[in-house]
Subunit: 344 residues, 2 copies
């Protein structure tokens, strides 16, 4: 195992010269080769597992057919797989492969690793964050087409793909409104990130569209985990005029809401409707009843970022190509935690 | 944005000839260059973001410094990130990058994609499964060093890295035994995979070591999700002589156990100790009380597979190198769901 099959091996096995094999495998024009010989050489090459030298080809074509995928903290998120898969499958449609790098958010390591990527002559780079945030693109990447993935820059010249947080928040609240809820609480995250501000804006917009006034007592911010959701729900559900439905910033927080409701003797969804955000299937399918939520478009963001990168490369050839800061919708995923409010 | 910086650009900016830049950047020996000029050229190259041509270098050295990472279903598991990260960080120590491919388990796509990888002259391949299983290594990979990751072959000549399921099951049950439990139930998975058989064997071994007889009424198999765990727990906890502790095949199943216990008015851990498997942090940290569990060594498997691959490449040069089928331990992660059994 392990020795790479070369042209000489194919030649020996097919009983022809290495030159003949080379002509056939490299499809050199103007060389006359007996069709049977050609067939035999191609079959032999296939049987032996011969693979043409992609490095030499890349050097000839001045491109490597690879895309660099630089991510900050791939390991700490269950979303990583879907982002990578979306990018990978879209890239594969164009015979492109992904070269993966993880920087762990360390700027010095990032600089060194991006150098490595550029040495491999990648055709472009996806600079991916594992949650939606505002980033500064590393200087080094200005010499190669780059798209930010689940991140955006304050520089409008840098193309990016992010989820539409405002629309996502609005989608969640409209689902509750459509079931007749009017007192809808929002358990938001304390962190100063685009998702926090965007989902709050979506919540307020949906209320306004339904002609409902904002009630500050219905919005509580907490840490974005089950313990935070638990604490927030205890506050909201023990208030004088308690909400009939809760929109949670994250599915993790909704887990704590389920615990609080159980302790208070409230049944979900009969006494309280709950909607989450993220579509973390481990949580949403594991909770009982299943948690209705809004999905982050991870697969789609990965795929769209590759499409943008290809457009950027193509546009450059024509000397044009305005950068796009693209926002993708977050779809509703209905399970069993939202019904009409109880009759009071 | 997007044009690659070449030697000519560096030469123009530094005010020297392209030949001088080439000598300095490629560290050509026997060429005398003024140290100040060398310094200026190196700084200019750095400022402009010049990257040497890795393709040309790879062709010269007959290696690409890349490892192919072929996975079956990267998107459907929250573990993917940690496996990839472990492989990536170990690879980076050796200036190797990962080329990622996902086959989705489709053999035809897999064949085509592995061809693509071999064309890129990868130095070796990690063939990764997203859960521990027995696989047949694709024929094409016999021509390149390959290590199976979270998978193993029935062919002992194929190197692999997998979790030690038996030891993991034993670790979980010993934790319960050490707290004084003697009636320990096991909620196992119905699927015919190594984890199912290994964890059962670990459970039985730990009991035998403690001098406890096997009681078939204490082992229930169910689907490996929260609903399965719920059904199994209802059966075990409503039996005449109910267990004081439950070992669950998966954290997902433990989620259902928590629900069953709450419905039966049992408190975890006071009335029932629970231990899971997988260390799915979303679940283990989200449940209340936090779920004690056994972790799968995903990061470590990724890293060890790269180490094995490098050893394989090195060993080949010396014409030796027995394949290793390596098993890594699954460590206990203690949270708050295991205490001493209630006094009866």
């Amino acid at each position: 195992m392990g020795r790479r099959i070369g042209i000489k091996d194919v030649a020996a096995a097919a009983g022809v010269s290495a030159t003949t094999v080379s002509h056939i495998l490299n499809e050199v024009e103007g060389k006359r080769v007996n069709p049977e010989t050609r067939q035999r050489v191609l079959e032999t090459a296939r049987e032996l597992g011969y693979a043409p030298n992609g490095l030499a080809r890349g050097l000839r074509l001045k491109r490597s057919n690879t895309i660099g995928f630089v991510s900050d903290q791939i390991a700490t998120t269950p979303h990583a797989g879907r982002i990578i898969l979306g990018a990978q499958e879209e890239a594969a449609k164009h015979d492109l492969l992904l070269l993966m790098l993880n920087t762990g958010g360390d700027p010095e390591l990032e600089r060194k690793e991006i150098d490595l990527l550029l040495q491999r002559q990648v055709d472009g780079v996806l600079y991916a964050s594992m949650y939606h945030r505002v980033v500064e693109m590393p200087e080094q990447l200005r010499s190669v087409p780059t798209v930010l993935l689940d991140a955006r820059s304050n520089d409008p010249g840098v193309p990016s793909v992010v989820p539409d947080e405002v629309l996502g928040g609005r989608t969640a609240v409209r689902e509750l409104l459509s079931h007749g809820h009017r007192r809808i609480g929002f358990i938001n995250n304390v962190d100063d990130i685009p998702a926090t501000h965007g989902r709050l804006e979506g919540y307020l917009r949906a209320l306004a569209e339904a002609g409902l006034a904002e009630d500050p007592r219905l919005v509580v911010t907490e840490t974005a985990d089950a313990a935070g959701g638990y604490r927030a729900a205890l506050r909201l559900l023990q208030a004088a005029e308690r909400p009939t439905a809760l929109f949670c910033f994250a599915d993790r927080m909704a887990m704590g809401v389920y615990r609080a409701a159980a302790e208070l003797g409230m049944s979900i969804p009969a006494d309280l409707s709950v909607i989450g955000f993220d579509n973390q299937e481990l949580i949403c399918d594991g909770l009982y009843p299943g948690l209705t939520t809004v999905a982050l478009p991870h697969y789609e963001m990965g795929a769209r970022a590759v499409v943008q990168l290809l457009a950027l490369t193509g546009a450059q050839d024509q000397g044009t190509g305005p950068a796009a800061q693209e926002m993708l919708p977050c779809p509703l995923v209905a399970r069993a935690s939202v019904v009409s409010p109880p009759r009071l």
